[in-house]
Symmetry: C2
Subunit: 307 residues, 2 copies
């Protein structure tokens, strides 16, 4: 059984019940628990030593990142976070002061975002440290934004700049909670998600969920300064497509709304770049247009982008 | 910093907000998300290879146990479980078929208890397998049962039999969801929790939270057959006090209700033992009365109970 087969099997016939509006496969689960006017968002996310942080990462930033990743998923539904539980799986030789500093960073971000930390547990993890966050949020009924609503002709937008997150941004990014709520309040977005695995890995989630394709215009993809500074290691455009942990918003809306959006955005969030990077097309798959023509991106082909 | 200092520091000044009715320190967090007539319960629990199960444990039972432990915490608030997220942290050499079987066991228990599995994630865990469950539930407003309500003079009750869980029960116990809801509907319980760390470890949580003490009558504590069969390894009464993973209900109510409760229980749950094991007293701490007199149990003294 391959990993693809496994995930297909695991998610094919999961138990459901009447509260489930959106289950596995989107940024958060969406539940109707009977709150008048609101739906409940439910998400977990884990960071692991050696994968998401290193022994040299300041513990405050480890705790901050653990919560921030989960907050980005609430943003990806245009929701508001409410309460979190923290699972700390610790090696046997853990340092208590180190753990307290992890909580300091986590608690600071929780206070900034209005999240209550309502408990959790510590357990033993022989191999190293793992922090799992379970997060609840709410979203006005009908305002939740899924991956599955993209329509042919939609303009595709991305916030911020992409690539090179490992140079620092992955530890200090601000989840786009305010921006996502503003978008949902002021514009009829068709689809929304957050970028965690890189544009080339994540946009296909929207495409598959919506049954559409996409064409990106290479010159419009916003490449971060960090990616440009590391051009000797990796072509910056490839970094912007594949580096991951950008935690920016990726969304689509009717192209006739695009100009109005760009103008309103500049007034609302003058410090945050917003880029229209392409359009939703018929068919399936992702193609990139550059000065040489169209290049399909089916899980590779990045070596083309040296320039 | 000791582990005690750490937990005290971690839980002392956690961020809160207006939704939090009960935060860290009870079986579940209790949140008011605005559901008319109901409150929301929120809990996480993790099982770790080498701690909560072994390589020889059938994977279906590993998955079942992971969810059952969390369900027991919902029972401990007299709640009804709703939806769960599953975090699977896997070693690099994990076997996909093994993981699918974990889900089979977990999904079967979810279906039996009406729980929707609404997603989760798999991540790398260099040291071994860890399964964390995040679980939501609901409870009628005012019916949630905390650890902090025990009153002097209360009778102390426990369901089932205690000790020897490692012989098998820890893998196939049925969370006492129905029993706890029945108790909350029919009797004015003062406090309730589930037994996960053993009676001698868990009852003090109720005592500290309620600012009271307790006296147990040794001969009334229900000792499991599994604990009696292993008498050569450990005195059965000591096993009943300290073995852990019983996942039975421990609760108190006014002693004048005790006889009525025992009669009604026999009619409602004829197959489940219910035992009155002592009473809540003034002061603090736990003492045990046997034929020799009273013995304080302050984190030890078990060697007294050879008989």
């Amino acid at each position: 059984m391959t990993e693809f087969d496994l995930i297909a099997r695991l998610t094919k016939s999961l138990p459901g019940n009447a509260t489930v509006l959106t289950g596995a496969g989107d940024d958060c689960a969406v539940l109707d628990l009977g709150v008048p006017g609101h739906l409940v968002l439910f998400k977990t996310d884990a960071v692991v030593a050696g994968v998401h942080f290193t022994p040299a990462t300041p513990p405050e930033q480890v705790g901050r990142k653990a919560l921030a990743r989960c907050l980005s998923d609430i943003a990806a539904m245009a929701g508001t976070p409410t309460a979190a539980l923290i699972t700390l799986a610790l090696p046997k030789d853990f340092d208590a002061g180190h753990v307290a500093r992890i909580y300091d960073g986590l608690n600071e971000l929780a206070r900034q975002t209005g999240v209550a930390i309502v408990g959790g547990e510590t357990t033993t993890n022989p191999g190293g440290m793992l922090i799992s966050i379970a997060l609840l949020g709410t979203v006005p009924r009908g305002s939740q934004l899924l991956r599955s609503g993209a329509k042919v002709g939609d303009a595709i937008f991305v916030t911020g700049e992409l690539g090179g997150s490992l140079a620092g941004k992955h530890l200090d990014f601000t989840p786009r909670l305010a921006e996502a709520r503003w978008l949902a309040e002021h514009f009829a977005l068709h689809s929304l998600m957050d970028l965690s695995d890189g544009l080339a890995g994540d946009l296909p989630h929207i495409l598959r969920a919506s049954g559409v394709g996409a064409e990106l215009l290479k010159t419009t993809v916003p490449v971060s300064r960090a990616a440009k500074l590391r051009a000797a290691e990796k072509p910056p455009f490839v970094a912007a497509l594949t580096d991951g942990e950008d935690f920016e918003l990726l969304f689509t809306l009717a192209s006739k709304e695009a100009v109005k959006l760009v103008d309103a955005w500049k007034a609302a969030f003058p410090a945050v770049k917003l880029s229209c990077i392409g359009r939703i097309t018929k068919g399936s798959g992702l193609v990139i247009r550059d000065r040489h023509g169209l290049l399909p991106l089916n899980g590779g082909g990045y070596e083309h982008f040296r320039g």
